[in-house]
Amino acid sequence: MSDITKQSLTNLVENIRNKKLSSTDVTKAFIDRSEKSENLNAYITNDFTSALDKAKKFDQKPNLDLKLPGIPMAVKDLFCTKDIKTTAGSKILNNFIPTYESTVTENIWNEGAILLGKLNCDEFAMGSSNETSFFGNVQNPIDRNLVPGGSSGGSASAVAGQLTPVTIGTDTGGSIRQPASFTGIVGLKPTYGSCSRYGIVAFASSLDQAGPMAQNVKDCALLHEVISSYDPKDSTSIDFKRNHYSKELTNNIKGKKIGIPKEYSVDGMPKEIEDLWLKGIQYIKDCGAETIDISLPNTSYALPTYYIVAPAEASSNLARYDGVKYGFRAKGENLIDMYEKTRSEGFGAEVQRRIMIGTYVLSSGYYDAYYLKAQKVRKLIKNDFDEAYKKVDAILTPSTPSSAFKIGEKTNDPVSMYLNDIFTVPANLAGLPGISIPAGHDSKGYPLGLQIIGKAFDEQNILNIAYAMEEKINFKNKITDWWIK
């Protein structure tokens, strides 16, 4: 079957279960395509040889009851994988080989999936274009020299380019939803505490969440079902009853109330985005759901809040990269000299910038003015959502204020780069689930996404809404395989 890599995860699982395809067939197909796709620079590390071995082993004694039977999958290089180099896109972890496995990837392998390799990402997940990676830019399969978004840029590119059937990313301020939107795929950021953070290289602990990225909503639901679990090794993991998200998936959303927050209509937003949003409202109505105008009054404060909270936590989380226990070490005259050189040479410019911001906002004399203030505003932002959810079941917004931009276009202007996350950041601050689905194209033919934000623990509901809308939208990604060698 030559079109293996075009198949959805759901189809591949079905074909393997029906013995129409073997794990080896599928794994080989994705390896072949990945090998021909070096131009995308989606991979940092591949594990193709051993993936093929594992596929063969699976086929000898296939356990078809598993949720991901013999399915090959590449994952973002922020997840620690046992005995496979894990870099977080950074020079400082360039040679780091974990002796342990993240809970989320462990869950995936336990359901029969096979690791293809580790996908490129912004350094320590800090970026919105994958341009901060030590391992170079990632190309968006949509067009040449177009960023795939970030930080899960390699992941988005790999799914859109069909180098992996599905993947997982992490989302701290939009790092799953924004690249999903830029590449025309589906990406879900779950409720904070739904997926364990154990074994994921930390960026900002109170915001980080792992989540699935897929070609369609159903695949996304299936993968989410696999990765979401209560984990006693993560003190912020939440023990709640999880759904069989894929089984319970329905396109019946009749009577659901969907909020349309007026504050998301920001100054200078392209008309194309405004139009897309209006189209989204119509789709909702076509599905038999109701839209209600709501207000989230503190929305415009979300991004400034995020750019205090996330760097503050990051400045502390990244203190462990000091050249002592693992990773890169620069030569130094003495301990302090070694620290300063290691961190100066080991971290890239954006990571250093954020460490500096974070160090500053926590430093003596500035804590109350910045960090404490941000925590208070974060509370207000959460209150906005709590208030809104008294009236509505979910909220519909654009995923991003623009479509994908050119590589290099925003690298010299950090603030305009940060503005990319304006619609995605509030869900992280409030700990809520959000999903981005492809909903149309702009005039250049680049994909645009819509975001549905749900109540905490209500992933099923936003998956259902996305599923119903997906049917109406009937989006087709325009992939020309321009990069294939």
Binding site: C80, T86, A88, L93, F96, P98, T99, Y100, S102, R197, Y198, G199, I200, V201, A202, A204, S205, S206, P232, K233, D234, S235, T236, A312, E313, S315, S316, L318, A319, R320, D322, V324, K325, Y326, L335, I336, Y339, T359, L362, S363, S364, Y367, Y371
Partner: protein, 491 residues
């Protein structure tokens, strides 16, 4: 220094200075595993063999709190008569050091688990109350070893992540003697509670000492200096004395005191400034986002309260009332939990007709002397409480004299022998049969007629001579009381 009314004052020309001391004691929590990881806490293990991925701060590793350590901290709080905070928060204290793998220490800054409390010190001139400011839980750091290699420092992370309680006193201490009493009291309370072994040699108990001085009578505090990480009471006392005099000298010379962190050099017996100002620390505390606020219920605290054993102050009160001990005796017995345990076991084994005073005298006299000479703790006593009780009873019921008892005690030490058996085997039983003694005394009087006459004529000093003769004739075994009685009658 003058010692009027036991006040510790330092004199300079016309001025008298008072010393103000506050302590931050770091006490290692007794627990099997670390505060946020499941590694062992045993002392003296091979380097880096009790280190988990969490302790070495590998990417993606997360802290999970040990319930027992939380309980230990709350119990200690209860022992310090302190307020237990139902909600407390773990913060990160950020700084870089080779033995701090995370680049931050998880501690409690704004909202500690235990609030204000107090301890009572027994000083020679009466009791003194020392206020406790707070107690919080935090992680210990690893160990940097600087002397194994000329170019490099070696790092051992075995201690990294071990739970510590930091107990902060109010600046209520006024002398090295009070510091001594305070540390001993804290140690005693924690050992009663089983929350810290108090072993200073192994570093289970160390302190940062805050010292300032002020003119006698002044109500305002002077500028304080913090002497970091002092690990013995003797060094604390030496450091305070040095530091107080250093500060007074500065004042007398009209100079100002810099608020700073200092180090006590035990070899030179002096404190010196630790870091230049340029490197002044800014710890950037903020709530650890990997952890949630720690919340404990009323029920949780109540259950721990019910689990608190009798503590030294209560035990002392009881000993005084129940056993009619002097406060001094009671203090000696309760200050160390093992001594109190030994004493209470002796009391229990002595049975109905017991002489508690005698037992106390023997414990604080003979037993302590033996322990001292062998450098033993009372828990390692070569004489069990059971055999010790038998010995005291043998004295009490007149089977042996106090003098013979000392001989018996010495024989007991080797292998915890039963004193009853020693007395029987060696024939050391006291001669208490009046008839035998009367015969013996008759013979002595007969043999020393002249002296007996002199005695009767008024030379009363000679009574002692007859007692001595009688004891000698009995081989030391005669009951001295009976000898006295019979002699008085016969002479």
């Amino acid at each position: 220094m003058s010692k009027k009314d036991s006040e510790y004052l330092i004199n300079r020309k016309d001025n008298q200075y008072e010393v103000v001391i506050g302590l931050e004691v770091h006490a290692q929590v007794l627990s099997e595993s670390k505060l946020f990881s499941t590694s062992a806490t045993k002392f003296g293990a091979e380097p880096n063999t009790q280190v988990s991925l969490v302790d070495a701060a590998f990417p993606g590793m997360l802290p999970v709190i040990n319930e027992f350590c939380v309980k230990q901290a709350i119990k200690t709080g209860i022992g310090l008569n302190a307020k237990i905070n139902k909600r407390s928060v773990f913060d990160r204290k950020n700084y870089f050091y080779a033995d701090l793998p995370q680049g931050y220490q998880i501690s409690q800054f704004k909202d500690p688990i235990v609030g204000e409390g107090k301890v009572i010190l027994d000083m020679p001139n009466g009791q003194k109350e020392i206020g406790i400011e707070r107690l919080h839980l935090e992680q210990d750091a690893g160990k940097s070893i600087h002397d194994l290699d000329p170019q490099n420092t070696f790092v051992d992370l075995n201690r990294s992540g071990v739970a510590l309680m930091e107990i902060v006193s109010k600046p209520d201490l006024r002398s090295p003697d009070e510091v001594n009493a305070y540390i001993k009291k804290l140690r005693s309370i924690m050992r009663y509670l089983g929350t810290c072994d108090g072993n200073m040699q192994e570093g289970s108990l160390r302190a940062d000492v805050n010292v300032s001085v002020r003119p006698k009578g002044s109500k305002e505090f002077g500028t304080r200096c913090e002497i970091k990480n002092v690990n013995s009471i003797k060094f604390m006392q030496m450091a305070i004395e040095y530091e107080a005099n250093r500060q007074i000298d500065l004042i007398e010379e009209g100079k100002t005191i810099d608020q700073e962190t200092r180090l006590f050099d035990t070899k030179k017996n002096e404190t010196r400034s630790m870091r230049s100002k340029e490197d002044a620390h800014d710890y950037r505390y903020f709530p650890d986002p990997d952890l949630l606020p720690l919340e404990v219920s009323e029920k949780f605290i109540e259950e721990l309260k019910n689990d608190i054993p009798e503590l030294p102050d209560d035990k002392k009160k009881r000993f005084i009332e129940e056993f009619k001990l002097s406060p001094y005796e009671a203090n000696i017995l309760v200050s160390d939990i093992d001594t109190a345990k030994y004493f209470e076991e002796v009391v229990a084994k002595m049975g109905k007709n017991k002489d508690i005073k005698l037992a106390v005298n023997w414990i604080t006299g003979e037993l302590f002397a033996v322990l001292n000479s062998k450098n033993f703790e009372i828990s390692q006593s070569p004489v069990s409480a059971k055999n010790f009780a038998i010995l005291i009873n043998l004295i009490k019921n007149g089977t042996i004299s106090g003098k013979i008892a000392k001989t018996v005690f010495e024989l007991m030490i080797d292998g915890d022998k039963d004193p009853q058996k020693i007395v029987e085997e060696k024939g050391l039983k006291q001669q208490s049969d009046p008839k035998t003694l009367e015969a013996l005394i008759d013979k002595i009087i007969n043999d020393n007629r002249e002296k007996a006459i002199e005695y009767k004529q008024g030379k009363e000093k000679l009574f002692g001579f007859f007692v001595g003769q009688a004891m000698k004739a009995s081989g030391g075994k005669a009951n001295p009381q009976l000898i006295n009685e019979i002699l008085k009658k016969k002479l």
